[in-house]
């Protein structure tokens, strides 16, 4: 029995803070709730960020009998999750001022619980822990989608996502059950040891089911059907949160699960991931071309990005961790910025989400229009923004491992994506619109500004992210070998 509780401090803090917020919710008058809760959640998240930074060791350490394993990769990914939470709170404060809900307190602490689930999922080193933490994250997100008053679109999206998400979770649970039945253990190292000596058809079925469950969670073709409806219907800060956090958590968990367990059979699995990835990258880009609603367009673009990350997973072990983490880092900030700016521009009746609402944005608010240039060009992968370097390293990884054709397909997909990322800019700069003043909320504006600045500065100095990815790679491999 080796608990090693001190390693678990950030998660414990977050869990306790979330539960305390439930109690605080009862005594705060509803008039000041939004501001106070946003402030408290912001403070909690900042403390959690500091704690996570302190408690992420370079040489991997285990806690709870090896049920969780922390290394630099998990630490940095958790920081990404918490940073997303921080900026989501900023965007949410502004959104909740304009769109009413009776459940302000619930909204903020469910956000905290969702982040807790994502953090646990990232550091999980055991199948049962991975499953329950995934469910904590998913169920919190279903709830978040349905909390707003008279927002039937959000409730419909929540129900759709809930039903499909349950099927995805069931697939994952079947896979885990099969793996447990074959290997007799749920700990990754023991599962890996048992599988490396005997890989039966049942084991392949289990692995295929687990992989399908993960493909569902990241929204890759052919399990992408929920993504456009869920992203479109959810309140925009929630789309932001799930777009960034679910992808980071699912991909890092996939890396941590599949590396030790499947390293010997990497060749075969790598090809499968590559095919799914390339199809998703192309499909997402093509489907996004015809979208009129910006959130729907970003949903399809997220399918395309997930495809690129999946094909990066297929490169050799070392390169995969590096390029996947780099891409996730860039993708997180691009998602925050893109959904953040949509949330900023959305006014009553969801006006501002459609392309036509962006007419003449430049004359209304030049600063927002310029920020949108940064954001959409980063998403499209135009140098010198961070999105370019993310795509660049994926391409380098693919070419280095001799996969030139897949690299070309990824390039074609990103060329197609340039087409739809330019559309909102064309509307913003070249089309005349009605003269309506846009008054962006301060906090949401700050969130968009911060993430755009990150995209610019780290785009100019990609060495920072590159070094971080290298360090996390080294730390991760140290724990696996």
């Amino acid at each position: 029995m080796e608990l090693n509780l001190s390693l678990f401090t950030p998660e414990l803090f977050l869990a306790c803070a979330g539960i305390l917020l439930i109690l605080i919710d009862l005594i705060i008058p509803s008039r000041e709730k939004n501001g106070l809760f946003a402030l408290i959640t912001f403070g909690i998240t900042s403390v959690a960020i500091v704690l996570t930074a302190v408690y992420s060791p370079f040489s991997p350490q285990e806690a709870f009998n090896g049920f969780i394993k922390k290394d630099f990769l998990s630490g940095l990914s958790q920081l990404l999750v918490l940073f997303t939470l921080l900026l989501t709170v900023l965007v949410s404060y502004d959104y909740l001022e304009r769109f009413k809900t009776n459940y302000v307190g619930e909204y903020y602490y469910t956000l905290i619980f969702a982040s807790l689930g994502a953090m646990l999922m990232i550091e999980a080193n055991e199948l049962a822990t991975l499953f329950v933490s995934l469910e904590v994250m998913s169920i919190s997100i279903y709830v978040l989608m349905a909390l707003f008053k008279r927002d039937y679109r959000g409730k419909e999206a929540a129900l759709k996502y809930f039903i499909l998400g349950s099927v995805g979770a069931a697939t994952l649970a079947y896979g885990f059950a099969l793996l447990y039945g074959i290997t007799g253990s749920t700990l990754y190292p023991e599962v890996a040891k048992a599988l490396s000596s005997n890989l039966s058809a049942a084991a392949f079925l289990g692995i295929a089911l687990v992989l399908s469950g993960f493909l569902f969670k990241v929204g890759a073709v052919p399990f992408h059907g929920w993504a456009p409806d869920a992203y479109h219907g959810a309140p925009t800060p929630v789309s932001l949160f799930m777009g960034a956090v679910v992808k980071v958590a699912a991909f890092v968990a996939l890396l941590k699960l599949f590396f030790p367990v499947l390293l010997p059979f990497f060749e075969r699995w790598g090809e499968v991931a590559l095919i799914f990835g390339l199809v998703s990258a192309l499909f997402g880009a093509l489907a996004a071309l015809g979208q009129e609603n910006l959130k729907r367009m970003l949903a399809y673009s997220s399918i395309s990005h997930a495809g690129v990350i999946l094909s990066a997973l297929a490169t050799l072990p070392a390169l995969a961790v590096y390029s996947v983490f780099f891409y996730l880092f860039a993708y997180t900030f691009m998602t925050i910025a893109a959904f953040g700016i949509i949330s900023l521009l959305t006014v009553k009746g969801f006006k501002g989400e459609n392309l036509s609402d962006w007419r003449g944005l430049y004359s209304k608010s030049p600063s927002l229009a310029l920020l949108s240039v940064v954001i959409f060009m980063a998403l499209a992968g135009i140098p010198p923004l961070l999105g370019f370097w993310a795509k660049f390293y994926v391409l380098v990884a693919l070419v280095k491992t001799g996969k030139v054709l897949p690299a070309l397909i990824v390039m074609v997909a990103s060329l197609i994506s340039l087409g739809f990322y330019l559309k909102p800019l064309v509307y913003a700069f070249m089309k005349e619109g009605k003269e309506e003043r846009v008054i962006p909320g301060f906090s949401a504006y700050a969130a968009v500004l911060i993430s755009s600045l990150v995209l610019i500065f780290l785009g100019l100095f990609p060495e920072v992210v590159s070094q971080a990815s290298l360090l996390s790679l080294a730390s991760f491999l140290k724990g696996v070998m």
Binding site: I22, N65, V136, V143
Partner: protein
């Protein structure tokens, strides 16, 4: 002594199970089913599997029967009484029950010697649950908390 109680509760379980099926009043049938479940729990007790017995009484006798009775009370029972028995349903149910019965008999026949009862105690279950699998167990409690709050918030009527 143990053998006597075993057969007594075994007989009770079967008899009450029959009553549950044959009773025309559904509520009475539900109560008979409750008695059948409790007797079955007692059967587990007499054969030395205390933990399974307790769980049987708690889960089946406590939760599932209450759920059944709640579901039955939301239905229009008078209307159900008038409805004639359909041959198709009865034969399908009979067929399934027959298959299940044969399976159980087959399983009992192929059983060699008395099954060991070492894993039926509470300790064997509690020790992995609260020591080895402590973390997932605790995370499940967070999950239930979130799900409960979410269910209340989403399900409440908007004013």
């Amino acid at each position: 002594m143990n053998g006597l109680f075993f057969y007594l509760f075994g007989f009770l379980a079967v008899a009450l199970g029959l009553a549950a099926v044959l009773q025309r009043n559904v509520i009475k049938g539900g109560v008979a089913l409750l008695g059948s479940f409790v007797s079955l729990g007692a059967v587990y007790f007499t054969s030395g599997a205390e933990f399974i017995g307790i769980v049987q009484v708690m889960v089946y006798g406590g939760a599932i029967i209450v759920l059944y009775l709640f579901a039955l009370m939301t239905m229009d029972l008078e209307k159900m009484k008038e409805e004639p028995l359909r041959l198709g349903f009865v034969s399908a149910g009979g067929f399934l029950a027959g298959v299940l019965f044969l399976l159980i008999v087959y399983g009992a026949m192929s059983l060699e010697g008395a099954p060991s009862l070492t894993v039926s105690g509470a300790k064997e279950l509690a020790s992995p649950l609260f020591y080895r699998f402590l973390l997932p167990f605790e995370v499940v409690s967070v999950l239930l908390l979130v799900a409960t709050i979410g269910a209340v918030a989403v399900g409440r009527r908007e004013e």
